[in-house]
Point group: C2
Chain length 131, copies 2
């Protein structure tokens, strides 16, 4: 397969696939004309990567996950630990975003949103609760 075919079948942009090769996540073969030539195993790795990325794993995590995936003598505990760490990061991010949303939603509700200049949102940002 050429790059466009794996792009379509993996759902990843061709640019991303080239980037993944550049940083050593995949090593597709080369045809005589210099074109990348992808085997089914490459496509498989790319879909793996796409799925891992869509779950928010970093490129570094993906590298480790791919190595674990290919190491048939791995311990599932290693995979689980990685996933748990990532889950913790996601939970922290969620809490942070939820706090933002609550504050913001409260401010939005308290703003008249009309033609007058008085605005509790700006007042909050300015640290002057009444302005």
């Amino acid at each position: 397969m050429n790059i466009k075919d794996v792009a379509e079948r993996s759902g990843l942009p061709a640019k991303t696939i080239r980037y993944y090769e550049e940083i050593g996540l995949i090593r597709p073969a080369r045809a005589e004309n210099g074109y990348r030539h992808f085997a089914e195993a490459d496509l498989h790795k790319l879909t793996f990567l796409g799925r891992a990325r869509s779950l928010g794993f970093s490129i570094g995590d993906c590298r480790t996950l791919l190595a674990l995936y290919e190491d048939h003598s791995r311990a599932s505990a290693d995979v689980k630990r990685l996933a748990e760490d990532h889950l913790d990061r996601i939970d922290r991010k969620l809490a942070e975003l939820a706090a933002m949303r609550d504050t913001l939603a409260h401010l939005v509700r308290s703003c008249a949103g009309d033609g007058r200049p008085d605005c509790p949102i700006l007042a909050d940002l300015a640290g002057t609760p009444d302005a």
Copy 2:
């Protein structure tokens, strides 16, 4: 005030303050020796920026918010619209993250996490629900 004082009082790193000047968010005066000289108004703007950034507003949004803050003939509707748009983005991000967390949490729960290689997490990533 010199930069370290405003850094402490605004809670922003000195590097960030220099960056904000570079991109035109603030315009502190200069002393004869080249040092930045911050007035209370500058400090005020910086705390405004810090608060807005902590609520997740982009630098572009902050620029607009600061302009609205300084325009005493603004309409609060303009501020509210900006905040509502941002709130929508946060809500979308939250939904995306929550979906990630749910999938990931499910996978983590289903993984034995012992010394054996069998791992539902890797199996899911590989698209082979039983491996």
